[in-house]
Symmetry: C2
Subunit: 139 residues, 2 copies
């Protein structure tokens, strides 16, 4: 079975979707991505869809699910590289890509994620903060 | 025809190869990459082959050609994400990937390119330098 590679760049996980997604590939990608977010502690996921000619309801739902899973794991998701024709088709089909943020390209996606993290008052730059807080009470 | 997307991240062009490369796809990728190097002035190309189960002589030659083209255009090429099994097969097949530098993952590839540029005494950080040098002699 084909697997979509997940590339770690700094605090960001980058996924470039180039193959036709089947049910199984989509589920595997969601699982792989969730595991990598937990393993790396990354706070951002960028999904590049430059290679996709069509974003149908299946792919749209997959993107929404990934964004929701990432959100629960404290990571922002940004979809980048959408072609103009894809955007037009999405609107014509009535698909709104709920909960998905978009940016023109990878660099703007990274800026968007960085800006979001900076704006969030609850964001603690030290990932060990919570753990050390609970562990420090041992006598 | 399928096209391999080229993502710009800072001073680096990132290519993640996930599809089976045909003659035409390979030629298109080489042309696209050369154009993007010239258009963006990027000094590094990272080719991710995490998704490839097999690197045969065709893919090996394509990687070498890309590295040579990039070199002429003043960009370093690093191949990242090679699987252990692929490395073993490459050696068993007697393919040496001439002129290709490798790194374990994208981040290390970026470090390698940055280190190479820093070490190069002929490297001028100002891409306009050569042009302004020739244009300055007009009376």
């Amino acid at each position: 079975m084909e697997r979509v590679p997940i590339l770690k760049i700094g605090d960001i996980l980058l996924v470039s979707i180039q193959i036709d997604m089947s049910d199984q590939t989509a589920v595997t990608l969601q699982e792989d991505l969730a595991e990598r977010i937990v393993a790396t502690g990354c706070h951002g996921v960028i999904i590049d869809i430059t290679a996709l000619d069509i974003v149908d309801s299946f792919v749209g739902r997959m993107l929404s699910t990934i964004a929701s899973i990432s959100k629960v794991l404290d990571a922002e998701t940004v979809v980048v590289g959408m072609r103009p024709a894809v955007a037009i088709t999405l609107v014509e089909l009535g698909l709104s890509l709920n909960g998905i943020r978009t940016a023109l390209n990878v660099e703007r996606g990274m800026e968007l994620i960085a800006a979001t993290r900076d704006d969030d008052p609850g964001y603690d730059d030290d990932p060990e903060g919570v753990e050390s807080g609970t562990a420090a009470t041992s006598p």
